[in-house]
């Protein structure tokens, strides 16, 4: 298992380099222009000069090489400098965003906490709701609980988050006035009242995300449980006189986890890049919102860097999922 993990990690390096190249080419070839959202009153000659000052005058391969160099040499040396007070970077240029003209990693670091708190919470809550709902719905198939669960999760999944989000705002912020419609990103949690305030502003975005995630995961959980419930080994276990609890939670659940683990692992990287629509609806300054702004503004360095981090997480969590398969079902072997 360990050698497998190590080999996969080694393999990940060329994979990731290739992915970064593909993303870079994609951004190059896709139509768009970083000066597109400037007012039309700025004449074309000036726009051309701005483009050159952004480094767009250089040929493609030079820009890609520069980005790679910055990512793997300049940025780490800045972090080391910041940690140990050394001067490895010596004032060299970091990866600069087209839109903000500031280092890309500063913006990412600034937005990471809110992303993890809000989107992460939405995901965790979603998973925690989804698993029991999936298990109970499968165990009591076609019961009232199952029917209601199916109904809510299907409605929750088929109505897009931009609709549920706005509906919640209209009901709970405009009509009832319970929760703020705009997330205050400057709020510092220092005492009880500010904690309560933070909770209040998190309720709606977390709810929207949790509903969406729970809907999806619970469906896979239920389907997989149903598949296993009729297997021979379940009958055997029951015949041996095991309690229902042990049969369901130990045998069936463990064997049903493979698709669920896949889905959950696929969703975790999404937490880091955020939930674009939900963050935008509630004005949470997460990474998803930044990614959307950067794509709209054709801010190639920002999009490339965020996408690359996302790619690392995807490769990593898919590896974790593969390792978990082996734990859940020892018959799956990698050699």
């Amino acid at each position: 298992m360990l050698t497998f993990a190590l080999r996969r990690l080694l393999m990940a390096v060329p994979t990731l380099l290739f992915i970064s190249l593909v993303i870079f080419l994609l951004l190059e070839l896709a139509p768009g222009d970083p000066v597109a959202d400037m007012p039309l009153t700025i004449p074309p000659e000036v726009r051309e000069k701005i483009r050159i000052s952004l480094g767009l005058g250089e040929p493609m391969h030079v820009r890609y090489a520069l980005w790679l160099y910055n990512l793997f040499v300049t940025e780490p040396s800045y972090w080391i400098d910041a940690l140990f007070g050394t001067d490895l970077a010596q004032g060299s240029q970091r990866i600069i965003s087209f839109q903000t003209r500031a280092p890309v990693f500063d913006t990412i670091a600034e937005r990471m906490p809110q992303t993890l708190i809000v989107v992460g919470m939405g995901y965790v809550v979603g998973v925690l709701i989804a698993l029991p709902i999936g298990i109970i719905s499968a165990y009591r198939q076609y019961s009232v609980f199952d029917q209601i669960g199916t109904f809510i999760s299907m409605v929750g999944f088929s109505v897009p988050t931009f609709v549920t989000g706005v509906m919640l705002i209209v009901v709970f912020s405009v009509w009832l006035g319970w929760f703020p419609s705009i997330y205050d990103t400057t709020l510092q949690v220092t005492d009880w009242p500010s904690f309560v305030k933070q909770m209040r502003q998190m309720v709606m975005p977390v709810f929207v995300l949790a509903l969406y995630n729970a809907a999806q995961i619970s469906r896979y959980m239920r389907a997989s449980m149903l598949d296993n419930m009729t297997q021979d080994y379940v009958r055997t276990a029951r015949a041996k006189g095991m309690s229902e609890r042990v049969v369901i939670l130990k045998h069936v659940l463990r064997n049903s986890m493979i698709p669920v683990v896949t889905v959950i692992a696929l969703g975790v990287p999404g937490v880091f890049t955020g939930a674009i629509i939900t963050e935008n609806v509630f004005k949470v300054n997460g990474l998803g919102q930044q990614l959307l702004l950067s794509i709209q503004g054709n801010d190639a360095p920002m999009v490339l860097t965020i996408s690359f981090i996302f790619a690392i997480l995807i490769v990593l969590f898919n590896l974790i999922a593969d390792l978990l398969y082996g734990l859940l079902d020892p018959r799956i072997r990698y050699d």
């Binding site: 896709a30 088929s158 999806q216 297997q231 064997n255 698709p259 889905v263």
Partner: protein
């Protein structure tokens, strides 16, 4: 099946196994209701425009923002277009896009998942391909596809057909990855099961192994993916038209109706609610049909 009493076997004429499937499906209440709802939805979006006879793109400025009335059972929008007619017309496109894109994505996902799970040699490359597609930023990819292929496709299939093909392919090739990962995970576990080992030991060729033994056993996650895939395709389509990458702006898809209605949620919430209900009904009915099909196709449940 071998321990079936001979008398019983003799009493019933031999029949196609699909009849058994149908019998089981018929006895599934949810599936039946789902089929009826789906049939109704299909009937109304196909026959609705013909029966209702109002042009969904006809603008009557004087009748704008009307609440529901006899002339306009669902009211009118901000330009005075009849909402009912728009819902019907939108349904045709939405259902067609949702179903086709879902089918494409499930096909791709299942194919890649099964191949990767079953044949160890191509597992690595296929899963790295999956990683690549998962990591690609969707929006620039779609922009690029639209830029490269819109004109040639529109040129060869006409504005509607060309954009339909473009959108279906765009959604299909950007949403198969989850299915592929799930299917692969299940296949990895399945191929170590006793019945697979047994049939391999008698020399069953790979093709038959996959079709007869592997695929039927991964049907349930595929069914779930399919259900979720329809909703996903419809939402992606609405995001595309919102960004100007989808159908021309006067094509009323359900996603676009939702988007447009959202601005007027204070004034007339029904403009959001109706398309949302239509969409949920579609997805729910597909879900129940999927449930019924899954039960019906499972020989262990069938006949119990």
């Amino acid at each position: 099946m071998t321990d079936l009493p001979d008398s019983l076997a003799a009493a019933r004429p031999p029949r196609n196994q699909w009849w058994d499937v149908w019998d089981q499906f018929r006895s599934h209440k949810g599936a039946l209701i789902g089929s009826v709802i789906l049939a109704l939805t299909l009937f109304s979006v196909l026959a609705g425009p013909w029966l209702w006879g109002v042009d969904p793109t006809f603008i009557n400025i004087r009748m704008r923002d009307q609440p529901p009335s006899l002339a306009h059972p669902l009211g009118t929008d901000q330009l005075g277009r009849d909402m009912l007619a728009r819902l019907f017309a939108g349904g045709q496109i939405t259902i067609a896009v949702g179903m086709t894109a879902m089918a494409l994505s499930i096909l791709l996902g299942t194919l890649i998942g099964v191949l990767a799970g079953y044949f160890r040699r191509i597992d690595g490359p296929l899963m790295r391909l999956t990683d690549l597609f998962l990591a690609l930023p969707l929006l620039p990819l779609l922009l690029l596809m639209v830029m490269l292929f819109r004109e040639p496709l529109v040129g060869s299939f006409g504005p509607e057909g060309g954009i339909f093909a473009l959108i279906v392919v765009a959604i299909g090739v950007t949403s198969w990855m989850q299915t592929a990962r799930i299917v692969r995970g299940d296949v990895l576990a399945l191929k170590e099961r006793e019945f697979v080992l047994a049939s391999r030991s008698i020399g069953t060729p790979a093709r038959r192994m996959i079709l007869r033994h592997i695929l039927p056993n991964v049907m349930s996650p595929i069914m779930v993916s399919a259900t979720l895939g329809v909703a996903n395709a419809v939402i992606t389509e609405s995001a595309l038209s919102f960004l100007g990458l989808g159908f021309p702006p006067d094509f009323p898809t359900w996603g676009r109706l939702l988007n447009d209605g959202l601005a007027y949620i204070n004034l007339s919430p029904e403009r959001v609610i109706w398309p949302a209900i239509a969409l949920s009904a579609l997805v729910l009915s597909i879900n129940y049909i999927g449930d019924g099909l899954r039960d019906a196709l499972d020989p262990r449940i069938r006949g119990r």
